[in-house]
Symmetry: C2
Subunit: 234 residues, 2 copies
DNA sequence: GATTATCCACTTGTATGCCAGTATTCTCTA
DNA sequence: TAGAGAATACTGGCATACAAGTGGATAATC
C-alpha cells in the first residue's frame, strides 16, 4: 500500500477480472447507457463461461450500473440525473470532510505524507502528458488516480472506497464532457491549485477550489443531456 | 415508496433472499466475527444450492462482511476498529449534511413530509414497544428503520443507501452494547429529541443531538472490544 | 526427533445443462 | 382484416458436476 493507492492484486478470479473489464467498459461508455447485453454474449466477449460473468454482474447490479431483466436480458443502466446529482453531493460532502480532517495533519510532514505527495505529483505529471496528447481516456484515468490519492489526505480508506463508487456515476457524464465542455488546461490548473493549497495548509482556499471543481458537473450535465438524450432516463 | 422507506419487494431471487438472510445473521452476530463458514453448509442451512449462496457472498464481500479464503472456506470478517470508526465518520458526515439540506425544507410542510413524518413516528412507537419488552434485536430493527427514515429528510436515496452500508459495520458493535452500555431510555429520548427538533426546524439543536448520539460509539467500542476481544482484529 | 515429500479431504472456481419466464411471431377464426 | 391463442426463440435463475488449490496428516528419510 503506497500512499493509500492500492497496489494491483496479482491473482484475480475470472469473476473479478470480468467485473473490472465490464465496469470500465460501462464507465467509459464503450457499453452505452441503455444498451442491452446478455450473459452468453459477454461470456464469449471475455472468453469465459457464464458463471464468472454472473458473479461480475451481481456486483455491477449493486453498483447500479447494470439492470437485470429476468429471462429477458440485461440493460446497461441509463444515466439518471437524479442519481448523478446525489452521487456528486455525497462525493463533495465526503471529500470536503476528508480534506478538513487531513490538511491540518499535512502540516506535520511525515514519511506517510512524503509517499502520498509522490503519488499525487506523479498523477499530476500523468495528466499533463495525457492532456498534451489530447487523450481523453488517459486523462480520465489520471484524473481518477489523482482524486483517489488526494482523498487519502484524510486517511480514511472506507471513505476513499465510497467516493470511488460515486465517481463511477459521475464519470459516465464526464466522459462526454471532458475535452469539450471541460477544458484540459482548466482542469490541470485546478488540480495543481488544489494540491498547492493542500501543501501550504490553506484549507479555506483548497476547499473553495474543490467545491468549484466538483460543481462544474452541475453546469455541464444539462448540456450533455441535451446532446445525448438517449443516454439519460426521462 | 413511502417516505423514502422502500417497500418490500414481493419477488426476490434465491440469491437476494440468501443475501438478506446472511447479512442479517452477520450484523446481529448470529454468525460471529471470525467464524469459518462454507458454501455447502450455508446452502444446506438456507435450503438452496450453492449458486445463489455464491451470488449472495459476492455482495457480502463487497460489503466487507465476509472474507473468502479460496479453496479453504470463508470467514465472517472480524470487526476492525479502524473500519468501524471510518464508517462512523462517513455516516456522521453524510447524515449531518442530509439534515442540513433537509431541515429547512421541512418547514414547508408538504404531503411528502406527511408521509415521512408518519413513518418516523411509527418507528418511534415501535422502538418504545421493543424497549418495554427488553427486546434488543427488535429495538435495533426499529432503530435501523428510524435512522433510514430520518436520513430521507435530505431526499437523497443514494446517500440513504451508503449510510445503510456504513451502519452494518456499526451495528455489529452495537449489538453488543445496546441494552448494556447503551440504555434504551437514553436512546429513546435522543431519538425523540432529534425528531422534535427537526419538526420545529431547530437545525443547530438537531445536529448537536445527532452528533452526540453518533459519538456514543466512540466511547463504547473500547469497552466492547475489551469484553469480546476475539471478535476484533488485533 | 526433525525435516521433507506425498497424499488426501476439504474447499472454492468454473463450466454446462435444464427449467421457467417473457416477448415476439405465426396461425386460425370470426 | 383484426383479434385471440398457440408456438417459438430467446433469456436469466438455479442445480449439479468437474477442475484446481490449500493445508493438515502421515510416511519416509536423515
Amino acid at each position: 500500500m503506497i500512499g493509500g493507492v492500492r497496489l494491483r492484486e496479482e491473482k484475480r478470479s475470472l469473476g473479478e477480472q470480468a467485473y473490472l473489464s465490464l465496469r470500465e467498459a460501462i464507465v467509459t461508455l464503450r457499453l452505452k447507457p441503455g444498451q442491452m447485453v446478455y450473459e452468453s454474449e459477454l461470456a464469449e466477449l471475455l472468453d469465459m463461461s457464464r458463471t464468472p460473468i454472473r458473479e461480475a454482474i451481481r456486483t455491477l447490479v449493486v453498483d447500479d450500473l447494470i439492470e437485470v431483466l429476468p429471462q429477458r436480458g440485461m440493460k446497461v443502466s441509463l444515466i439518471s440525473t437524479t442519481k448523478v446529482e446525489e452521487a456528486r453531493v455525497i462525493r463533495e460532502v465526503l471529500e470536503i470532510a476528508s480534506l478538513k480532517g487531513g490538511i491540518d495533519r499535512w502540516k506535520n510532514f511525515s514519511d506517510t505524507h512524503d509517499e502520498l505527495a509522490a503519488v499525487v505529483e506523479s498523477c499530476l505529471a500523468w495528466q499533463k502528458r495525457a492532456a498534451a496528447r489530447g487523450d481523453i481516456k488517459d486523462f480520465l484515468d489520471a484524473d481518477e488516480a489523482f482524486h483517489r490519492a488526494i482523498v487519502m489526505v484524510g486517511k480514511n480508506r472506507t471513505l476513499q472506497s465510497v467516493v470511488g463508487q460515486m465517481r463511477a456515476h459521475l464519470n459516465r457524464v464526464r466522459v462526454l464532457s471532458v475535452g469539450k465542455l471541460e477544458n484540459f488546461d482548466v482542469l490541470l490548473d485546478e488540480h495543481n491549485a488544489l494540491y498547492q493549497n493542500i501543501k501550504k495548509g490553506d484549507q479555506s482556499e483548497a476547499l473553495s477550489i474543490l467545491m468549484h471543481h466538483l460543481r462544474r458537473l452541475v453546469t455541464d450535465m444539462p448540456l450533455v443531456q441535451a446532446a445525448y438524450p438517449d443516454y439519460f432516463t426521462s
